[in-house]
């Protein structure tokens, strides 16, 4: 049994934050400069009363509305979020009910950021290929905008809210056929945890009692040490790509498309150049969505499929990296519907 991606849909909030609005708030940054450096023209921001489960619901409904699958088909729901509606219960449980997925459906959240999609694919593959599930609904959903300070231009220019829904299913494959998902490479360096962190609201912040870290209660919302995240990326991503190529026995030329987490254009271009990947094989899609954390890779895949770039049998190399610090990469043979 080969687990494979059949279909991907995504949903964005209606409210658009354009570069003009940001440039008006921060006059030392021009519209052109933001666009040129980040590769982002606009991001979508969740409404005050719109949360991760709402975006996740919209993405899943879009998937069902294509008519290729229905809620009753799914026996597992995995949801990646770091901005859940509640501490508990899991957002996946809320979504199971709202989508009318069967009660025989397993459902859980996992807390990862930009590496989350690759980890989700790895778990989905494990569930399917060990016979624990037949059809997995892998959802990514974030409303990072709720973590951002209004006056923090470095993060407000980059992050956008979104959710994606991926249908992962099994298919009979001829003996000896290569995996449709994998090999996978995972990695973690928790010593970089402080470089991208939200302390406020967590138990250690003392929000619920006089916690040990009183200072954190007054800590800013999302804190990002951009330069150190950039250094982390330069350190781990080329090695991750190299490991994936070695484990899969593929050459760089044999990969049809490289799909990295869409952090910002500047970082991606530098990585592409460093790894010697031709621009034609390097997917970039963030201009109208921004950095949507765990949703950037599935959004890029959906758009590549929609534009006719992605075709059955093509070999993709995905790498997600960021908050944690955490990274994960996978080789994907695109099957589709």
């Amino acid at each position: 049994m080969n687990a494979h991606i059949r279909q991907i849909e995504y949903a964005l909030p209606a409210r658009v934050l354009g570069n003009e609005e940001i440039a008006a708030q921060f006059p030392d940054w021009s519209v052109g400069k933001i666009s040129a450096k980040t590769g982002i023209s606009e991001r979508h921001i969740a409404a005050k009363d719109e949360y991760s489960s709402d975006l996740a619901f919209s993405a899943c409904r879009k998937l069902f509305d294509t008519g290729t699958c229905a809620p009753a088909d799914f026996d597992f729901l995995i949801l990646c979020t770091q901005s859940p509606d509640y501490f508990l219960p899991s957002t996946a449980c809320l979504l199971q009910s709202r989508l009318n997925l069967p009660q025989s459906c397993g459902a859980f959240d996992f807390n990862l950021g930009c590496s989350g999609y690759v980890y989700g694919l790895g778990v989905a593959k494990g569930l399917i290929e060990t016979g624990q599930a037949r059809n997995v609904l892998l959802v990514t959903a974030e409303t990072y905008s709720k973590f951002l300070r209004e006056d923090d231009k470095t993060v407000r220019t980059i992050f956008g809210d979104a959710a994606t829904a991926t249908w992962v299913a099994g298919r009979e494959a001829p003996a000896g056929a290569p995996a449709d998902l994998g090999p996978f490479v995972y990695g973690t360096d928790g010593s970089g945890a402080d470089n991208l962190i939200v302390k406020r609201g967590g138990l250690r912040s003392g929000a619920f009692n006089a916690g040990p870290d009183a200072q954190a209660a007054a800590a800013p919302l999302l804190h990002m040490n951009g330069p150190e995240i950039f250094n982390f990326t330069l350190r781990v991503v080329p090695g991750c790509v190299k490991q994936l190529l070695e484990r899969s026995g593929l050459s760089l030329e044999a990969v049809d498309f490289f799909v990295m987490h869409q952090a910002n254009r500047y970082m991606l271009e530098h990585l592409r150049d460093k790894m010697g990947i031709p621009p034609s094989k390097f997917m970039v899609f963030m201009e109208n969505t921004g950095n949507t954390v765990s949703s950037t890779i599935p959004i890029a895949l959906h758009e590549a499929l929609k534009s006719g770039l992605l075709k059955q049998g093509q070999v993709l190399l995905l790498v997600g990296f960021g908050v944690g610090c955490s990274w994960g990469g996978a080789v994907v043979r695109w099957q589709g519907l």
Binding site: K33, K37, T154, G226, P227, N231, R235, Y266, H270
Partner: protein, 75 residues
């Protein structure tokens, strides 16, 4: 390190005309030295000098000379 090449690269990062920088300028006087330029400097260190420079060390620099001193074989 080729001081001239370093200054020309830094001018590109800061979007300055070629020949603008002499090497002793205060970074606070360079309007385009901002958070994006810091990323640009880290990228330059990685690509041209195969060096990893810490973000906090770059942010702590006061002059162009201080930046040069972060790179290997600094003059």
């Amino acid at each position: 390190m080729d001081q001239n090449a370093f200054l020309r690269n830094l001018e590109t990062i800061c979007e300055l005309k070629t020949g603008t920088l002499k090497g002793y300028e205060r970074l606070s006087n360079i309007e385009t030295w901002d958070s994006l330029a810091i990323l640009g400097f880290i990228a330059m260190a990685d690509k041209i000098y195969s060096a990893t420079v810490k973000g906090e060390d770059v942010a702590g620099c006061k002059t162009v000379e201080d930046l040069a001193a972060l790179l290997p074989n600094a003059p």
